[in-house]
Amino acid sequence: MADTKTIAPKDPAFVRAWDWLTETQIWTSIFRHTAPINDRNRVLVMLSNVFLHLHPVRLRKSGVRLRYTWCMGGLSFFLFLQLTFTGLLLMFYYRPTLEYAYTDIVSLREHVPLGIMREMHRWGAHAMVITVWLHMFRVFMTGSYKPPREFNWNVGVIMLVLTLLLSFTGYLLPWDQLAIWAITVGSNMARAAPLIGNEGPLSSLMVLGDVGLVHQADDMRFVLLGGTFVGEGALLRFYVLHCVGFPLVIGFLMAVHFWRVRKDGGISGPL
């Protein structure tokens, strides 16, 4: 009798390759558990992954609905990351000096074939302003600022202001007519700050003996611009704030914001 060998049906090659890959020491050192296809791993994936652990393991059904959140908070955060990334790339090519600022932007336009980093950064910034507004709108309309989330609403308001300031400081950097005049119009306001602006009400009362304390060259606007007009000092100041100062602060506040969303009981819902 001829031997009949029973051959176990073999998995297709890619499945075998996948199995092999996921059992290597390298793979298992990165992912401590297998894919989140059962409840145990759905817990593990949230606990062991630093990015995912911003989330709870489970959350109320209404909270994942687009109808409820419009995803606007999440998109604001995503746009912030996108802007950080494209901004970083732009920083390689851009020098914040009167000599180079404008020409560096021109070169970005002229010499980079198919380049869209500047566009992605600019339109992303506009988009972020809009998503943050809509996020605030949604939080208001669902009454989510009510106890226990009062504090997180306030963190949000500060981030809203920072988002606008980030956008405002970035607006100056291309150093074209659009930029300096928009910033001139905006920063002229500081000149009118009560007491501390040289054309502000009551600033004439700021005297020591008979020496006036508030002048064009030491008032609020001067602090903002590092000069009496939008020039070299303003460009550097805005650059540093735009690339380092404000992103650090808003990044820090985002950590607080997300932490508090969790600590205040997760996405809001009827009590």
Partner: protein, 358 residues
């Protein structure tokens, strides 16, 4: 066509624009039940598409809305009106459930779901769609770059970035120290105060209109009418010399607008009493000063006794006064607008000696 355009241009002015914005909000609040229907939502969107579609056929309209930095505001108009409709609709749907003795829909969806896959996948899809939109937008529209900065050559009009144009529009009615410093500060303070002055325990964590109608109306007034509609006005309808231009009008630098503004002190001393303006600024401006003090210090007290007594009792003195003061500051803009439109009034208090004009 041209007849329609010139008709619109002839009637368009800030007064009409602002009254329309306020009137629409009033209609939405009053008719929120009807406004919540799908027919209204899609109708609104279709109207916007038709408006911009029609506008794009016009050279001047085209010029202003396709300016690269203005494109996001076109997007904002669509998104904002859509979400206004959408959130009012969700509120009305919940109100109907509540009226029928059922809990709001969010209560029915209280069960927990797994973050993976339910939330993670939603986020992934949102991220992908957002990335696609940004990339397509970036390919289709080049970021603007004008002539190199030149501090000797002031463009006309000089505009702040679009998100500050509501504030720039306020400059028409207030001096910079109010429009650019005090009122923006109050906007921030006011936003931050919201959770502490709103004592209404209802409507926490679900959409509703009925249970929070006053709060929602005030917020829509501040956010949609004052903040956003003035941005649209400032971006699309303000041209050289900050003159108003209809949507189809050519931005003529030489357009003249008669300016015959008067100060309150002139009206009172010169026109009413028929005497010369007193020399001392304090006496000259005393009526304006009294009026302002009356508005911010006396009016809240009077309202607590009559008119807003209900709120005074509900909120207690501290919350009541903070709320009313913030509300009156918000209202100071429309009040000043009306004073300008009806009486050509420039300043209520005008003390140029101290840069102090209100």
């Amino acid at each position: 066509m041209d007849a329609i355009k010139s008709f619109i241009d002839a009637f368009a002015d800030p007064r009409l624009f602002f009254s329309l914005a306020v009137g629409s909000l009033a209609l939405v609040v009053w008719g929120h039940e009807a406004f919540a229907s799908k027919r209204w939502g899609w109708g609104l969107m279709a109207f916007l598409v038709a408006l911009f579609g029609f506008g794009l056929t016009d050279e001047n309209f085209n010029l202003i809305i396709t300016k690269p930095d203005n494109v996001p505001i076109v997007g904002l108009i669509f998104l904002l009106l859509f979400f206004t409709w959408y959130s009012v609709r969700q509120g009305v749907l919940n109100d109907r459930r509540i009226a029928a003795g059922k809990p709001p829909i969010e209560k029915d969806e209280e069960d927990r779901v797994w973050t993976w896959p339910d939330l993670v996948y939603t986020e992934l899809i949102a991220i992908v769609i957002c990335t696609i939109i940004i990339i397509v937008w970036s390919i289709a529209l080049e970021a603007p770059l004008e002539q190199p900065a030149n501090s000797a050559n002031t463009p006309n009009p000089s505009k702040a970035p679009w998100y500050f144009l509501g504030l720039q529009e306020m400059l028409v009615y207030f001096d910079p120290w109010l429009a650019g410093v005090v009122l923006p500060t109050l906007i921030i303070v006011g936003l931050m105060a919201i959770p502490y002055i709103d004592k209404n325990p209802k409507g926490n964590g679900y959409y509703t209109f009925k249970e929070r109608s006053v709060e929602i109306t005030l917020f829509l007034f501040g956010f949609v009418v004052l903040w956003s509609s003035l941005i649209v006005l400032g971006t699309f309808l303000r041209g050289p010399n900050w003159n108003f231009f209809g949507p189809f009008e050519y931005w003529d630098i030489h357009k003249l607008e008669a300016l015959t503004n008067v100060q309150l002190s002139e009206v009172i001393w010169v026109q009413l009493f028929a005497v010369a303006l007193p020399d001392s600024w304090f006496i000259r401006e005393i009526f304006g000063i009294l009026l302002v003090i009356g508005y911010i210090a006396v009016l809240p007290v009077v309202l607590a006794k009559k008119g807003l007594t209900k709120y005074y009792e509900k909120l207690g003195p501290v919350r009541y006064y903070v709320t009313v003061l913030l509300f009156l500051s918000m209202l100071s803009l429309p009040v000043k607008m009306l004073a300008r439109w009806l009486f050509n009034l420039k300043y209520i208090v005008s003390i140029p000696e101290l840069f102090f004009n209100i």
